[in-house]
Symmetry: C2
Subunit: 211 residues, 2 copies
Amino acid sequence: MRISELSRETGVSIASIKYYLREGLLPAGTALGARQSDYGNEHVTRLRLIRALVDVVGLPIAKVKRIFELIDEPGDDIFATLGQAVDSLPPYTTDGEADAVDYPRARAVIERLGWTYDPRYAGTAQLERSIAAIDGTGIPMSDARLDAYASAARQVAEFDISRMPQADAAPAAAIEYAVLGTALYEPVLVALRRLAHQDITARSLAGDDES
Amino acid sequence: MRISELSRETGVSIASIKYYLREGLLPAGTALGARQSDYGNEHVTRLRLIRALVDVVGLPIAKVKRIFELIDEPGDDIFATLGQAVDSLPPYTTDGEADAVDYPRARAVIERLGWTYDPRYAGTAQLERSIAAIDGTGIPMSDARLDAYASAARQVAEFDISRMPQADAAPAAAIEYAVLGTALYEPVLVALRRLAHQDITARSLAGDDES
DNA sequence: TGCTTTAGATAGTATCAGTATCTACTATTG
DNA sequence: CAATAGTAGATACTGATACTATCTAAAGCA
């Protein structure tokens, strides 16, 4: 497939495709000569993935590149690779240093839940940051709320893991599922929460009318 | 409080505070003279809110401004105001026109759940967009998954609504809770999902070791 | 043969979110 | 009371990001 077809197929402009090639987000096609390359179905998929991560998840190009690098060359340690991938997802914590950091708000929640508290998990810093950001804004963040959210989050996570490709049988597929699933399913979950708000509110208004 | 104190209190630079004042995100302080203004606690709260929405939720300044406008001057129709606020949250759908649009993937889900399908809800377009973005990327999006996510989302939403200030008694507080709660609690929910992934995976690895 | 397309390089643009500087003061401090 | 620091408001500048546009030299196709 030529670059013009790839562009038509995906709706991404040729200029943007060239930009993604330059930035290393999209692998080069197989060269057919000095002035032509052949692009395959994997380029179509990859481009759709780029658009999904950029437009829907809202990731900057550099983070998208990092994620593809982790997918294309995962280390031996799937667990560590996934951790690094989650680190590429917002909200960015950008610490980098500091070995002995502690995340008190996150720790309190995690320990109350009986989950594994580990300050090295990217998610731990993200939870801390999310809770800390709410402090001082006048928006309440009670333990009861955290428990309710955690229980729902765990249900979703149980489902996610149950559908994950076997890590020992297909490590590349498992990494890809874990990394992309973490990022791409999030907007679905939050959209459903917003719709549930609407539905519940609409029902209660309808109930008021009837009574 | 002078601007330098406000800056020290919140950790936001004076230059940035002035920028927010210019952009209308932060109301002006009460003028004490031509060269001095007095800022109060509401400015501290507002600044923390701006940083939370910008840094953690990832909203652009213009959307933050829109949200404050809705909070500060909500219309009579709380339901409509909330809808407009949700429209200011990513993923942005940017249609604007088109009366008779239909969102087939979202509709299928919502009708299967027995929720109220309404293409005018911002969340409907957001759900459509989120699901559509996953199509063609090789990441699976089954009905079973959508059902699992919806059930979890509904649990969270039920909790949210149960803690919402009474709309008829305190409409301003209800709007603020709904708008900010929708935005600010989302990062908490997704962070908890990521941590649950880690915890479940860590447990299963530990289980493998023992066996 | 002439029009279109392409790879690869380089330069330009639009937007965003601040920063920096300047003026003309006012407030505080030694 | 003089020097220093701080301030409001205006304007200009900056750096990052994500493209877009243009150009060159060569194929491809009709």
